[in-house]
């Protein structure tokens, strides 16, 4: 027994990650039916968005003079922020009904926990899966950015990981919440009264210092604002390295706390 005991202890982290990958495999398999619509959503939707906002609203804004947004066009101002915003939206969507299905409607997560897979690995698999979904989305928006000369920069490559981390900050926190729910009644509330206001007021469409106090302070607690500052700074420049480090650190804290919360709530739900 001692020999296998030591072997197991040594192999534990590896086994942990492998289990999470097995959970991810199932998500991927189920998803393989929908990837086309996903890709459409990731590319076509932001493209329409940017054409409407950037070229339509942008023409109005830009006619007021280039000094308004520190010398960049409105399209160049909004487009990079959409990387972070799309990541938030995709992660939030994925963390409500689709996740609830695993806990409640198909009971797939309970089925996993009857095997050597642990509840923490189900949470790990969810993290990997959210990462996948958010990556597809941010890469899609990044590709759209490459279509416009104003945003066709190497910085897009840095904005993509910033968007991914932003998405995970939301996805994990909401997933932890979903794992505690018996019904889906709170999901529309989350999307309409939390996610949508952040989308509107966290700096995607205008600088937050346009807003009255104390909103420019409150946004420090909003992951999207950090994600927007990072992705915008990466694409159009002007990001202070020290500030960038702070933004990244805050997002990573959100991700870390979100994942810990997930392992807690998943464990309580799946191994009562």
């Amino acid at each position: 027994m001692t020999e296998t005991g030591i072997g197991i202890a040594a192999a534990a982290p590896a086994v942990g990650v492998r289990g999470a990958i097995r959970v991810w495999e199932r998500h991927w398999k189920l998803h393989s039916f929908y990837w086309r619509s996903d890709l459409m959503g990731a590319v076509v939707q932001p493209l329409l968005y940017l054409m409407g906002m950037g070229l339509g609203v942008g023409a109005l804004v830009d006619s007021q003079g280039a000094g308004l947004l520190g010398g960049v066009s409105y399209l160049a101002f909004v487009a990079p922020a959409v990387i972070a915003a799309a990541a938030m939206n995709v992660a939030a969507q994925e963390s409500v009904w689709p996740l609830m299905a695993g806990f409640k409607w198909s009971n797939a997560f309970q089925a996993m926990c009857a095997t050597p897979i642990t509840a923490a690995q189900v949470a790990g698999g969810t993290l990997l899966w959210l990462t996948t979904k958010v990556t597809i989305s941010t890469v899609g928006v990044g590709a759209v950015l490459m279509l416009f000369p104003a945003t066709r920069t190497v910085g897009v490559l840095a904005a993509i990981p910033a968007g991914i981390v932003t998405g995970l900050a939301y996805g994990l926190a909401i997933s932890a919440w979903t794992a505690t729910r018996e019904s889906d009644t709170s999901f529309p509330v989350i999307l309409r009264f939390f996610i949508l206001p952040m989308f509107l007021f966290a700096g995607v469409f205008f600088p937050v210092d346009q807003l009255p106090d104390p909103i420019p302070l409150i946004v420090w607690a909003v992951p999207l604002w950090h994600g927007v500052e990072l992705s915008r700074g990466a694409v159009i420049g002007g990001l202070d390295p020290a500030m960038a480090a702070i933004h990244i650190a805050i997002l990573l804290v959100w991700v870390g706390i979100g994942f810990l919360a997930c392992t807690q709530t998943f464990t309580r739900r799946l191994t009562p």
């Binding site: 398999k29 797939a108 089925a111 009857a114 095997t115 191994t271």
Partner: protein, 313 residues
């Protein structure tokens, strides 16, 4: 670990308790399941059967008492134990959008089995549950009995030594149940230990070598179906049906008949070793029923004798 593997009980529980807050689901039970045995937990809904099964399946932590599966503690060796058991839950937990075969392969991956091995085993197991021709069809449109068989095949993907079945045939039609029982019997022949819960008497009598009757979190009796019937009931039972509302009245005339008279809402049961003789006596006492039936005692009668209630209340 010096003992030969066969001498270690597959499941052993001593004073096992499960509480959810104030509610005590399992209230100090002792159980031992030997290798190769088919063991049943029999009882009504809410008796604590499923909670016990989830503790044995190492997904629900033990509140107090001792539980060992293959001689190991679920609290410290959950993963190792789960890798050696198969679980057929009360409700099918299949991925409806995927094919039958894909459901099995994905499940096999949770045990970290190589993909090729999963595919081979899936083909064998679908043959075993007679669903080879449905391997590539989606799960969604299959009948309840077929879905159940997919779930059983899936639970066998890791070649388990112990199979846990929580109400395996609830909601299935009689034919589907018989197909399932036949497959479970074959598994038992191969040496797989079966632990199942049921509230169907006939299922317990068909499948179980030994069982415990559970009621309100406790074990009310233990033994083989035959032993339990001998110990807690008579050889035969006379069932009498009267015009509605007459049961209590007529039962008074039946006082002292057989070992015991039990009045149920829909019929009166007379427990007697000779049912026909009891029926003649009923006629003598002028307590003529609308209809009558003499049958052998079943586990249903054992449950009634032990708890004063019928199983499917």
């Amino acid at each position: 670990m010096a003992d030969a593997p066969s001498s270690i009980p597959v499941v052993s529980a001593h004073n096992l308790v499960k509480r959810f807050g104030e509610f005590t689901a399992v209230d100090g039970i002792d159980v031992e399941v030997r290798p190769g045995e088919a063991f049943g937990f029999l009882g009504p809904n809410g008796a604590g059967k499923s909670s016990t099964m989830r503790m044995i399946g190492c997904v629900s932590p033990v509140t107090s008492g001792e539980l060992r599966i293959f001689g190991m503690d679920p609290a410290t060796h959950g993963r190792q134990i789960r890798s050696r058991i198969g679980v057929v839950p009360q409700t099918d937990q299949l991925d409806m959008e995927l094919s039958v075969e894909e459901n099995l392969i994905i499940y096999g991956r949770y045990f970290d089995l190589p993909r090729r091995l999963c595919r081979e085993r899936a083909a064998e197991l679908l043959e075993f549950v007679q669903l080879s021709d449905r391997a590539t069809s989606k799960v969604e449109p299959l009948s309840g009995g077929m879905k159940r068989r997919v779930t059983i095949a899936r639970a066998l993907i890791n070649d388990p030594e112990l199979l846990l079945l929580d109400e395996p045939t609830t909601g299935l039609d009689p034919q589907a149940r018989h197909v399932l029982w036949d497959r479970l019997y074959r598994l038992k022949q191969r040496g797989v230990t079966l632990v199942l819960t049921t509230h169907y008497m006939d299922e317990a009598e068909q499948l179980c070598d030994r069982l415990v009757v559970m009621d309100q979190g406790r074990i009310a009796a233990e033994g083989s179906p035959r032993e339990l019937i001998q110990r807690h009931s008579t050889r035969e039972v006379l069932e009498l049906r009267y015009v509605p509302g007459q049961n209590e009245l007529q039962a008074e005339r039946l006082q002292g008949l057989g070992d015991r008279v039990e009045v149920l809402p829909d019929r009166v049961l007379v427990y007697a070793d000779d049912g026909e003789a009891a029926l003649r006596e009923v006629h003598n006492r002028d307590a003529m029923p609308e209809s009558s039936l003499v049958r052998r005692s079943s586990l249903e009668d054992v449950f009634l004798a032990l708890t004063g209630r019928t199983l499917n209340d």
